[in-house]
């Protein structure tokens, strides 16, 4: 907690405006002081929450540090609560594979969709067009899990995986028995779930492309598509990368839908058809039943890895997105 004085003094130092009249006694002053200090405390709460998250994760994961090094923890594949052996590699692998495949599936669709909304569709429809994307974002993840478990998984098992195995079976990714549950199912559902995130942010950054630049390209005889490639894409590239990173962060941390369709089998397989496990899924499945303190600590350790990764990803993404969105302001002012 910052000290009380710091909280109260800071606004005064910022409003350098009225420095020398800032501290007049008067009827309004007490109320203003009270209001300002309340606001500063409320703002500081965000930092407190951030601190609480880090602190509690660290405390919960501490017992693990006794006989596990960080490197050992993330490179060990064995996860055996009975024997107190905890290695995170299997889960890291599952999380990474499903997230990456979901990005491969979602990013082209998301960018095409964002271009359609911002560039090709009639501008009047803009608000209406984002509706389905917003609806996708509003569906709770457990409902996606339910849908994935009873609709997507059987469909993959019956149609998609046999077909892929038949035609692309020479690639190790598409080998093995089609069981439905597994990396591919998780990736597909994650792709649907991260689509709204990527689209929402991409649309925002694409909208910041100065209209004049695009019109200039069109005036030079470029077709609409060429104008997009010449202006919108370069202008918003960093922001789109940021949007993708935000989507990746969401995919890494998504719990319920993945838990329900990944198969929950702690193994590392090259094939996307195989069942696997992910970081959030193992936390969701084992945390409530973990009895030994080391087991809880190991799960909290997984949570800490997840937190650190998503934190860095989000921070990087925000820097990129904010830079693009600030762009035009810098030009005009």
């Amino acid at each position: 907690m910052p000290s009380r004085e710091a909280i109260i003094d800071a606004p005064a130092s910022e409003a350098a405006a009225a420095q020398h009249h800032a501290s007049h006694p008067g009827t309004s002053n007490l109320g203003d002081r009270l209001f300002n200090s309340t606001l500063w405390i409320l703002g500081a709460m965000i930092l407190v929450v951030a601190g609480l998250i880090v602190l509690n994760l660290a405390v919960a994961a501490r017992p693990l540090a006794k006989d596990h090094s960080l490197w050992g923890f993330i490179t060990e594949t064995q996860w055996d609560p009975v024997e107190d052996r905890f290695g995170a590699l299997t889960f890291l692998y599952g999380t990474l594979v499903t997230s990456m495949v979901s990005l491969i599936l979602a990013v082209p669709v998301a960018i095409g969709l964002s271009l359609f909304i911002t560039q090709f569709a009639p501008p009047k429809l803009g608000r209406v067009l984002t509706m389905p994307v917003e609806l996708l974002a509003a569906i709770p993840s457990v409902v996606y899990g339910l849908w994935g478990l009873f609709i997507v998984v059987p469909w993959l098992r019956a149609s998609v995986e046999p077909w892929l195995g038949k035609h692309l079976g020479w690639i190790p990714l598409f080998q093995g028995p089609p069981i439905g549950l597994g990396y591919l199912a998780s990736s597909m559902i994650l792709a649907v779930m991260i689509l709204p995130t990527i689209v929402a942010v991409s649309v925002e950054v694409m909208k910041t492309t100065p209209e004049a630049t695009r019109e200039a390209a069109l005036a030079l005889g470029a077709t609409k598509w060429e104008a997009v490639m010449m202006t919108v894409i370069p202008y918003s590239r960093a922001g789109i990368v940021g949007a993708v990173l935000l989507g990746l962060g969401r995919a890494l941390g998504e719990t319920m839908a993945v838990t329900m369709v990944i198969g929950n089998s702690p193994q590392i397989s090259a094939s996307l058809f195989a069942a696997g496990y992910s970081l959030p899924a193992v936390i969701a499945n084992e945390f409530a039943e973990a009895t030994s303190s080391v087991h809880v600590a190991a799960l909290a350790g997984l949570g800490l890895i997840l937190f650190a990764t998503t934190f860095l990803l989000n921070a990087g993404a925000r820097v990129l997105v904010n830079a693009v969105q600030r762009g035009p302001r810098r030009v005009s002012g």
């Binding site: 350098a16 405006a17 009225a18 009249h21 008067g26």
Partner: protein, 283 residues
């Protein structure tokens, strides 16, 4: 050139508000007949490094209208916003000098800008009624927002009558303030400003967003309000200044170039720059 070329010393026998050089402080011993209602001495306003208002000194007599004219960017608005300390809220803004209302320095220590603004009301360029409030609530806002409860019906009616709006809105006082036309909204804002019983009314281009008919109504209103209030109005329209004001001050690049009776400023200005401006050579 003299060290303060922008400032003009006017002969003391002139009955109009005076302009004097900053060096001559204290230049304005209260005159026996009518002291100034608003008196500005060597006023400077800075926005960070930008010196926006330079050494302005002038006075306004009670129950008169002072029009402030000048090309855009000359500091007209900045000037009148210094008269009720609206710059206190702008980060990086700094005000130097003195502004007296009834002989009391607004920038002295111990003056609460909040209380001061109840004495010096303001009407803005664009009508800005509170969108969440009805017509009635808008007029009473200065009272209710200040925590003064009770029944304000009489004050509301009185102020709406003063703002020449009563007859148009008396049957729909509970409608949204924003449901009125632009001109009506501006008169609503005037009524709102009057409800806290100010002595001085500042108007920052009050008709610039209005059509000619609405503008005419506002100007008529200013004539009536002059009976009770001291008014400083910024306007970009010289015709408007000529129609509504007793005295006119011409600002250019943050300096007060010339001030005098309106008729004289428009027909027989002393300064070349004033003449160029009023005859349309620039601006």
């Amino acid at each position: 050139m003299s060290p303060a070329p922008a400032v003009q010393i006017m002969p003391p026998e002139k009955p109009v508000p005076m302009v004097s050089a900053p060096q001559q402080q204290p230049p304005l011993a209260p005159e026996p007949e009518t002291p100034f209602k608003v008196e500005v001495q060597d006023l400077n306003v800075y926005f960070r490094a930008n010196h926006a208002i330079r050494h302005v000194t002038l006075g306004v007599k009670p129950q008169t209208v002072l029009a402030v004219i000048g090309p855009s960017g000359c500091g007209k608005s900045t000037f009148i916003r210094a008269l009720n300390r609206m710059h206190d809220l702008v980060p990086g803004a700094r005000v130097e000098g003195r502004v007296f209302v009834d002989g009391e320095d607004l920038y002295a220590r111990g003056i609460d800008p909040v209380l001061l603004r109840r004495r010096v009301g303001m009407v803005f360029q664009r009508p800005n009624p509170f969108p969440t409030m009805s017509i009635y609530e808008n007029v009473a806002a200065g009272l209710t927002l200040n925590g003064i409860g009770g029944n304000h019906a009489e004050i509301v009616e009185h102020c709406l009558r003063q703002a020449a709006l009563w007859d148009e809105v008396k049957d729909r006082l509970r409608h949204a303030g924003t449901s009125l036309s632009g001109g009506q909204q501006q008169r609503l804002c005037i009524a709102r400003a009057l409800a806290v019983e100010p002595e001085v009314l500042l108007m920052d281009e009050p008709a610039s967003a209005l059509d000619p008919i609405a503008t005419a109504k506002i100007e008529e209103l200013i004539h009536e309000l002059k009976e009770k209030y001291t008014i400083v109005i910024v306007t970009h329209s010289m015709q408007q200044a000529a129609r509504v004001s007793d005295n006119t001050a011409f600002f250019y690049l943050g300096e007060l170039i010339e001030m005098g009776p309106t008729a004289q400023i428009f027909t027989n200005p002393r300064e070349r720059r004033t003449e160029d401006y009023v005859t349309g050579k620039f601006g």
